[in-house]
Structures are given as C-alpha cells and as structure tokens.
C-alpha cells in the first residue's frame, strides 16, 4: 500500500507540474460504497444526507410536540413506556422540540439539503467550491445531532431552558434536573452546529460567486439560488455570534466566570457568580436568533418563487424586485433582534427603534407576497402537488406574517409575549411555512433526485390534510393567546379562567394527531416512489433552469462532461413567438429579451 502511494506521487514528476496532479479540489467518481454514500464529496449525496438527517430530526421533533400536546390536555395521563410526564419533563420536551426543529430541521433541510443538491446544478457548476469542506460540514452537523440526542440519556435528562437558553437558568447546573450534563451537551451541540453551519455558509458563498457557468450572471440566477446565497450570508454573520455566546455560557457554567449570571441565590445558597447580565446573553442570542428566522424561511421563499412561476407558466413577477426584497429582508433581519426583548427591560427609545425596524420588514415581505400573487394572476396554472405546496407556503406566510406587526409593537407585545399568541405566530411563519417550502421542494425535485415521480393522488391528500391540520393547530393559538393562555406552562387545566378553553385545546391536540398521521402518508409516498414510482423524464415539469437540462438523476459531475452555457434568465415562460411555452436557460437560438 505504501509502495503504491509513493509510486503515485512519483508519477507527478519531480517538479509536480503534471496537469493531472491536482488532487486538492478535483475528485473522480468514487467506486467504493463508503466513499460513494458515507464520506462522499459529491454535493448531491451530501445534500441527500442533510435531507435524511433532517427527516429523522423532524420525526423526533414531531413526536416531542405530540407528547407536549397530550400532556397539556391530559396532564395526569399515564403514558405507555413514558409513564407520567412531570412538569420538568415537559420543559425538557419543549426545549428539545424547539432546538431540534430550529437547528436540525429548519436550518438543515432547506439550506444544507436542497441548497447543497441544487445550488451547484442551478448555476452550472460541477460541484461545490470546496467538496471536502462540504463533507466535513455535514458530518459535523451529524455529530451535533448525536450530541443533542445524547442529552436525553444523561443523568438529569435534557435541559429545561427552552431553545433560547436564557441565562441564568441555562448557566446554573443547580437550577434544575436537566441543567446538569444535559445542558452542557445542549450548548456543545449548538456550538458544533455553529461551526458546521459556518463551513457550509463559506462554501455556498464561494460557490455562488465563483463557480457560475458562462453566461450565468448574478441577475440570471434562479431565485432559489439567490435565496440560498443570501441565507448563507446571514448564516456567516450570525452563527459566529452564537458560537461566541455559547463559549461564554460554557465558561459561566464550568469555570465560574460571570458573564451572564448576576448575584443569585439557588435553594437558599448564594452562588459564586456576581455582576453578570442575563440581558447580555439575550442580546447575543437574538443577534443570531432573528437572522436565524430568515435562514429558515428564505430558502422556502426561493422555492415558492421558482414553483409559482413554473406552474403558472409565467415569468416571475418583478424578478429584480424579488432579488432586492430578499436582500432587504436579510439586511433588516440584523436590525431587529431587540423586538424579542421588549419584555426584558429596554429603554423605550431602543424599543421604539427596534419596533420601527421590525415593521419595516413588512415592506419587502409585502413586495414578495404581491409579486407571488402577480405571478399566479392570469397564468395557466397547473395545480400539481408541488404547486399546491407553493401556494400553501404563500398562504401560511401571509397568515403567520400578519401577526408580526402586532408583536412588533412593544405596547401589544408586552401583554401577548408570554402567551400562546406568539407560539401561533412563529409556528405558522417560521415553522409550518418553511416546512411547506421543504415539501414543495421535495415534490418538485424528487424526479430529478431519484429519477421517478411521486404519487400525485397521495401527494394531494397529504397536502390538504397538512394544510387543514396545521391551520387547525396553530390558528386557534392566536385566540388562546388573546384569552391569556400562557405559553411554556406545563399544566393549566386547573386554572379557573382557562376552563372554557380546554375544549379548544383538546381539538388542537386531536388536530395534531391527524396532522402527524398525515406525515406518514408523505414518508410512505417518498420511499415507495423511490423504488416503485413511474419513471420520470429529464424535465417532467417543463421548467427552464439548469437542473432540468441534465440527466435524471444527474451524473457525478452534474452535466456529464459538458459545461453548460447560459443565454436566458431563469423564468422564460410563455415567451411570445417561442416554439414551446418555456425557454431553457441554455437554449441558444430562440427568442429572448432579458
């Protein structure tokens, strides 16, 4: 083996100027199972790895949410295997549900999954700029996931501090059962995840800037690529801050520093800390946390734009406006973190500034929404499953987004902040809307990824059940919030003033059962179609972007040795005078004017 290696190096010549000696970046198609499917350098395999990691995580997260809903209405129920859920267990469920969903689903699947798979293909590149870094990024994410799951199984169990990890609860191991090793693992997992996301963001940005095919100008990139690109920039600027915050939190917990912990008494004992500020953690956390919301939703916006145009057979309404709106949302996303802290005590002047900036996000969001509606209007809409999900995305984005301006005002946020209203708001817009973006992407790109079509009928059934189900769960939360049902409480069935809300809560729990049951339709459809679905041709949706010009599934280098040249914008549908109602981006000799 050693002899073989040295022979290989000798072949490169003493001066190393052999044209085939560049092994740093390039890689040939792998042959062994491990190099092909486990430690693969191929962005497509890595994309699928991210996707299936997120699919696993979403079922874990969903299961935890179901346990929470069961506990809310039957607090004394004795569950099989789990027994009676204690109040602190409820807090653990809450923490782990939030953390797993936000980091390992909403951040992982849209960006790491679809972005990894389709960004290079859509810009005509053979792979990411740094394939090894890409592989490292996935496996680091995987380790982070294992570490956070481990928190369930250590002494004391999973942490109690919520996905936001507010100090001093998160900073004091004596604060609760889950705050011992479980909390350390939680912080470690987040820190590892930050490193993984930074590597991913670096790769996405470099790839977008440097590996576009000939003719693929920035203003010819599909809006999906724009969304992934801006998301990567947000991640690059936000995750470093969360990493630093996490490091300091670990120091507070383990080395006795006082960044976040003031003079505090736990169980009658004065802790060794003093002078720290819980607000400091909140500032750092939300400086990351708010851009994180856009990290979750922007890729969904990109997918929605792509699909609404494709399935309406019309160019996207206002391409440039869409691009600038994505940039505007990304930029404003860094200016508004304080609106999460109106309750924490803040100068009214700061609160005013944060409030104004937050409401300003309504402007680019409205631009996007109206452009989506403008895209559909007058189109010859094909209501296939991906399109249904794209429309569902817009619907959820509007209904979840409209409660945003309410919460953006301190005077309304203060009574609503700790109620179910906020839960309804962010689940609709950040949770379910982003998930609908992923479903849309899955149904849309499945033929390209696996060479077969998903079942259309069950896709529709899944869509209508999921749409109705998620609305049935999260819409009433706004009402519950206004009726002052607190959030994060493990048990409120005993409270007299909430008695009349118990039937509604029961209804929501049943809706959760149905909605989660409907997800099994999706999973069965996914795996069944992978092997038994009807064969897909190379461009089943008659779309224009580059991934539909190549074979299905794409070869190792994406374009089979050819290098695509781009002549058109991404949404040339129904071009007057063109032979078909769509013009591929790579079509050299046909009508265009972009």
């Amino acid at each position: 083996m050693v002899a073989q290696d040295s022979h290989d190096h000798d072949a490169h010549g003493p001066h190393g100027n052999d044209p085939h000696g560049h092994a740093v970046h390039a890689h040939a198609a792998p042959t062994s199972f491990i190099r092909k499917y486990i430690f693969s350098l191929d962005h497509k395999v890595i994309g699928l790895q991210y996707y299936f990691l997120a699919l696993t995580a979403v079922f874990v997260g969903m299961f935890l949410s179901l346990l929470m809903r069961i506990h809310m209405i039957w607090p004394t129920a004795n569950l099989p295997l789990l027994g009676h859920i204690q109040p602190e267990t409820y807090l653990s469920l809450l923490t782990m549900h939030g953390t797993i969903m936000v980091f390992f689903v909403l951040t992982t699947a849209p960006q790491g999954g679809f972005g990894n798979y389709f960004l290079p293909i859509q810009i005509g590149a053979p792979d990411m700029a740094f394939p090894v870094l890409n592989m490292l990024s996935f496996w680091t994410t995987f380790i982070a996931f294992v570490v956070i799951l481990a928190a369930f199984f250590v002494t004391g169990g999973a942490p109690l501090h919520g996905w936001t990890g507010y100090a001093p609860l998160s900073a004091l191991p004596s604060a609760g059962p889950g705050e011992q090793l479980g909390a350390d693992l939680w912080i470690a997992s987040i820190a590892i995840f930050c490193v993984a996301s930074l590597m991913g963001a670096l790769n996405f940005i470099t790839t977008t800037l440097d590996l576009r095919a000939k003719g693929m100008t920035m203003m010819r990139m599909p809006l999906t690529v724009w969304a992934w690109f801006i998301t990567a920039i947000l991640g690059l600027l936000a995750f470093g801050v969360l990493l630093s915050a996490g490091i300091l939190l670990l120091l507070d917990r383990n080395l006795g520093t006082s960044f976040y912990v003031p003079l505090v008494v736990v169980n009658g004992q004065i802790m060794g800390h003093k002078g720290g500020s819980p607000l400091l953690w909140q500032h750092l956390f939300w400086f990351f946390g708010h851009p994180e919301v856009y990290i979750a939703i922007l890729p969904g916006m990109g997918v929605a734009s792509q699909l609404l145009s494709t399935f309406s057979r019309k160019p996207i309404f206002g391409y440039k406006a869409m691009v600038y709106a994505i940039m505007g949302i990304g930029f404003l996303g860094f200016m508004v973190w304080g609106h999460h802290m109106f309750m924490s005590g803040m100068s009214p002047y700061s609160a005013f500034a944060f409030s104004i900036m937050t409401m300003a996000i309504g402007v680019p969001s409205a631009i996007k929404t109206f452009n989506w509606l403008g895209t559909i209007r007058g189109g010859r809409v094909r209501f296939q499953t991906p399109m249904l999900y794209a429309i569902g995305f817009v619907s959820l984005f509007v209904s979840g987004g409209l409660s945003g301006p309410f919460l953006a005002q301190p005077v309304l946020d203060i009574p609503l902040h700790d109620t179910a209203f906020v839960v309804g708001h962010f689940h609709l817009i950040m949770g379910v809307a982003a998930i609908f973006g992923m479903f849309a992407g899955t149904y849309y790109w499945f033929p390209k990824m696996f060479g077969r079509m998903m079942n259309e009928k069950w896709g529709r059934v899944h869509f209508f059940l999921t749409l109705a189900g998620t609305y049935a769960i999260f819409m009433p939360m706004h009402y519950l919030g206004m009726a002052a049902q607190p959030r994060r409480y493990s048990q409120f069935t005993e409270l007299a003033y909430l008695q009349h809300l118990i039937p509604l809560n029961t209804f929501m729990t049943y809706a959760a059962f149905v909605t989660i049951g409907a997800q099994f339709i999706f999973v069965i459809n996914l795996f069944w179609s992978m092997f038994k679905g009807p064969k897909a041709n190379d461009n089943p949706w008659e779309a224009t972007t580059l991934e539909w010009t190549t074979a299905t599934p794409p070869p190792h280098d994406n374009f089979g040795g050819k290098t695509p040249v781009v002549y058109h914008g991404p949404y040339e549908y129904s071009v007057p005078g063109a032979p078909k109602d769509f013009v591929m981006q790579t079509d050299p000799a046909t009508v265009t004017s972009h």
């Binding site: 740093v24 053979p126 576009r212 100008t217």
Partner: protein, 288 residues
C-alpha cells in the same frame, strides 16, 4: 415567421420593456398579430453576443464567466484551472475571515458591555463595578507581538518564494531548458518556529497573569483576557497546522501549484491573525 425564430432579441432597453409586459399577455400569446409585431421588431444578434452574453447592470457578472469550474480531471485539463482554484481559495478565505471576525466582534461587544455593568455587592447592598483592571505583563506581550510580526514577515517571504517557484515550474519542465538553481530558504520552517515561539510566549503570559492573581474567574476583565487570547491562539494554531501540512506536502513532492495555493492562503490568514492580535492587544491595553 420561421426565419425569425433563429433571431434573438438582445438586452436592449426596449427589449426589457417588452419583457415586462409579457406576463400580462401570457395567456393568449399564441400567435396574435400584435405580439408577432413586437417580436419581429427585435434586432438580430451576432454570434459574438451569444457567446458572451450581456450581463445585468451591477450584477457582478462583468468578469468573464468561468469555463468548467470544477477543474481537475472533470473540467478537462487540470493545470488550466490552477488560477481559478487559487482565486476560489482566496475568496473562500476572505469569506471565512468574515466569519472569524464576527467571533471577535462579538467578544468585543461583550467586553465593552460587561465592563460598564454594575454589580450588586451582597454585603453592602450597593452597586459597585466588579471590573478589575488587569495588570497585564506588557513587556512580555510586546516581545510576543514582535515575534508574531516577524513571523508575518517570514510567511510573506515564503509566499513570495513559492509564487516564484510555481511560476517557473512550467519553464523547468521544458526539456533542455535550464534557468539555474535558486536557493530556497526555509521560510515556512522559520514561520512555524516563530509561531510556536509566540504561542509559548502567550502561555508564559498566562502563567504570569496567574502569578499576579488574575485567574479565569477573578473578574470579568481577566475572563475576557483569557477568552480573547485563547480564541486568537486557537486560530493561530490552526494556521500552524496548515503550514505544517504544506511542509509535509513539499516532502511528498506534491505539485508546487497545489502547495502554492495552500501557502498563499495561509499567509494571508496569518497576516490577518497578526492584525487581530494587534487589535486584541490594543483593546486589552487601552480599554482597561
């Protein structure tokens, strides 16, 4: 009609205006006179324009687009993409440094904010500042600074040396051409030695701080001293590992172009880390 099909409307202002109206008429586009008239007024474009398509304004696409991209055995012709890989790796470095900077920016904001926070004294019940002025071993840190700046110089010399080497490599490979032998000084080795000396010096500074009674948890000020210096030291140690890797690849007789990319990018990284150290030192020294 058929003769017009091969024609292409270029990215003229008029063309763009027509493009914008297209959405509204999409439903009934198939062959009404009005649309055909719009189309037939489009100009014909030459092959030249097709090969080098117009870019959108301010799009950043004015640079000639890359052929192939991936390089190596898949783009066909590995060495032709060497310049592309160098540029890409440098771009990646810049992006990575932005992420690194955010870490230090974040620590700085903690430093400034925590410094201004009062603390409740549990004996008197009064608010006092718990931010102690750290008695930094300034002389030692100045020596360390000198070592780091010197290493920045040596790594720059290493970078320039390997740039020359890489540039001459194709000439050397021509049979019968001799351009004489250049004596290569081990600048990389010198950089590694100076880098290690710096890290050892930082370790001594930590020991000295402990001798003076400033531990991690003594005061938020001393915590920040340790956090900032440790974050910088970890970054620098990462750079050292890459330099050692570059040295190892030299022993393995790897392609000089590959090594040049590694050394080049690490050199820029190293300079940046020297700047970060100057910044940290200034922060700790002047914002006590």
């Amino acid at each position: 009609m058929p003769s017009q099909r091969g024609r292409v409307a270029p990215a003229t202002a008029a063309g763009r205006r027509r493009y914008k109206t297209r959405g509204r008429v999409a439903r009934g586009h198939t062959g009404t006179e009005a649309h055909m008239a719009t189309f037939s007024s489009a100009a014909t474009i030459t092959d030249q324009a097709v090969k080098d398509p117009k870019t959108g304004r301010g799009s950043g696409g004015t640079r000639p687009p890359l052929p192939g991209g991936g390089g190596g055995d898949r783009g066909g012709g590995g060495s032709s993409d060497y310049g592309g890989r160098l540029r890409r790796t440098r771009l990646g470095l810049i992006v990575g440094l932005v992420a690194s900077s955010m870490l230090f920016v974040s620590f700085t904001s903690v430093y400034i904010m925590r410094r201004g926070l009062p603390s409740l004294d549990d004996r008197t019940g009064a608010y006092v500042s718990d931010w102690l002025q750290v008695n930094l071993p300034t002389t030692l840190l100045l020596v360390n600074t000198f070592l780091l700046l010197l290493s920045s110089l040596t790594v720059e010399l290493a970078r320039r040396q390997i740039t020359r080497q890489a540039a001459l490599a194709p000439v050397r490979s021509i049979p019968g051409v001799s351009i004489g032998k250049e004596r290569y000084f081990p600048w990389l080795g010198a950089t590694v030695a100076l880098g290690l000396a710096f890290l050892a010096g930082q370790w001594m500074a930590w020991r000295e701080l402990a001798n003076r009674g400033f531990y991690m948890a003594t005061s938020p000020s001393s915590s920040m001293v340790y956090v900032l210096t440790a974050a910088h030291a970890i970054h620098l140690a990462g750079g050292l590992l890459v330099l050692l890797y570059a040295g190892a690849t030299a022993l393995q007789q790897k392609a000089v172009e590959d090594r040049r990319i590694v050394v080049d990018v690490t050199a820029w990284y190293w300079h940046f880390m020297a700047l970060v150290w100057l910044y940290i030192f200034a922060l700790l020294e002047f914002v006590r």
